[in-house]
């Protein structure tokens, strides 16, 4: 299978940090953009994106593909997405295992699906069509969820694994989403990490969440929690040096704080590598 480049340690490219990134050239290996924020006619966002693209690898991450919706695929959206991809030449394009609306409506949210054979067939067929239209392999992310459905016929990780194999797509493993969904639904996070096919994972997401005691919400407005770092270590051991980035979308801290989280990630990875070397010796 073709493998995507190992980009290293990245961050989400958010306007609040534009000036600091341009003036300080921080030690970030790559940036991920929210595709829709740049699917606009022109102006500052696209100008800035071109400046960043000249210096950093860029990955396009979308939130509106609605892969699991039973509405028809939005071909205008896919055409605009492809136009942006042709312009940006990203390392890859990703979106979510989710739907955003039906009957022509859009709830602007990543909505949950039942893990059924019907849903699996539906999603696999649509990923195939998207890949044909975009003329590139799609990278699909596990979403965080707050409900599951009684009719589900398999655990989420089995659905994800089958989807990747059958659609021949790649996976964006959101480690925080695994943790959030695992907490909310009471499944074993480690089982999820261990079941995902290692050769399909192209990228990790890391992020913070909000703890509401009875449930967790994937808010991207907090530092990464210790339990998620622990799960990250497990994922890193299993999937190797796939590209990783931190999503921060609200309650923006000083940029140095995000650089600190990236450094913590590098330190964890260095310790894992050192352990592996000692074991091999």
């Amino acid at each position: 299978m073709e493998s995507l480049p190992r980009l290293g340690y990245g961050l989400g490219l958010r306007p609040v940090y534009y000036d600091e990134i341009l003036s300080t050239r921080p030690p970030v290996d790559w940036f991920e953009i929210i595709s829709e924020n740049y699917m606009i006619p022109g102006g500052r966002p696209l100008v800035m994106l071109e400046r960043f693209r000249a210096d950093y690898p860029i990955v396009m991450h979308g939130v509106s593909m609605s892969l699991a919706s039973t509405d028809p695929l939005d071909l205008d959206y896919l055409k605009a997405l492809k136009a942006l991809a042709d312009r940006v030449e990203p390392a890859w394009v990703s979106d979510h295992l989710a739907w955003t609306g039906v009957h022509g409506r859009n709830l602007h949210d990543l909505l949950p699906i039942p893990y059924t054979r019907e849903a699996l067939n539906h999603v696999v067929e649509r990923i195939g069509r998207v890949q044909d239209i975009l003329k590139r392999r799609l990278v699909v992310e596990n979403a965080s969820t707050y409900v599951t459905f009684t009719q589900s016929e398999m655990p989420e990780w089995e659905f994800v694994a089958q989807m990747a194999e059958r659609a021949d797509c790649l996976l964006l493993l959101d480690v925080n989403n695994v943790f959030v969904s695992g907490f909310n639904h009471g499944f074993d996070n480690n089982a999820f990490i261990d079941a995902v096919p290692a050769d399909r994972v192209a990228q990790f997401h890391m992020a913070g969440h909000t703890d509401n005691e009875t449930h967790l919400i994937d808010t991207h407005d907090q530092p990464i929690r210790e339990e998620v770092w622990t799960l990250y270590e497990r994922a890193r051991r299993r999937f190797g040096d796939v590209s990783v980035m931190i999503e921060r979308d609200d309650n923006f801290p000083p940029f140095s704080e995000l650089l600190g989280e990236l450094q913590h990630m590098r330190d964890i990875d260095a310790a894992i590598a050192a352990n592996a070397s000692r074991s091999a010796a």
Partner: protein, 288 residues
Amino acid sequence: MKLAELQSLFQSAVLTGDAEDAAILDVIAAPRDADRPTMMGVYVNAYRLRLAEFLDEDYPALRVMLGDDDFEALVEAYIDANPSRLRNARWYTTRLPEFMQESENWNANALAIGLALFERALTDAYDAADAPAHGIETLAEFSPQDWPRLGFTFHPSLRLIEVAAGVLDAYVAATADEHEDEDEEAPGSAEEDEGALDEDDIPIEDYPPYASDGETIAIWRADLDPAYRQLDPDEYLALCEAMAGQSFGDICQLVAFQNEGQSATERLAQFLVTWFSEGLVIGVAEAK
């Protein structure tokens, strides 16, 4: 239950704001700790919060002018009446001014509608299509005898609006704190605007009611940021006609009609110099 039916049920519960909708709760598995309405409520609440956030981001001055309670009532009414059909959330807020014009609760507040129109134009100017502006030297490519037949094309970000008197003052007052931090040389900043007011100069209740002699404003993008300028009636007329494709000569006649006794050609030439210097003109050609 088929996937399509499940998605219809789920969406219906979110759109109606009913996290206790029995039909959807029946097919939701028991969560680990929370109850099912609480977990369904995450989606129900997120839907409204997200759309409200889009409106907050695009109409910050309107919130200040109306006050939090009235603005949030407007947002709630807009969300109820306008479930999104857009793939990209960027344009969800676009119809707010028209919604206000069509709503009995808001259509008498011309100042608020004007401010909404103004803020929408700022948002639209921000990410309108790019186009290189022409300098005044472009005119030298044409002989003076051809000038009456010249027509102009304008930057895609340029918008003209005609709103109630007091809208610009309301905007400046509402964004006074923000402007204090801005570069004083920035186009369209409060300092450049004639009659710019301090935040406390006009109490909200004393804003003038809608007057037929409203304000005419040009909004565009300059150096990647939105800019604006209030136009005199004759410049507004001239720019409207120029944007509609009328030639220099035809516009001169209209301006002369508006300003009898003045040299229409000189006046329009002044306008043109300004339009070129502001980066508004992206094309010059003989009008058809």
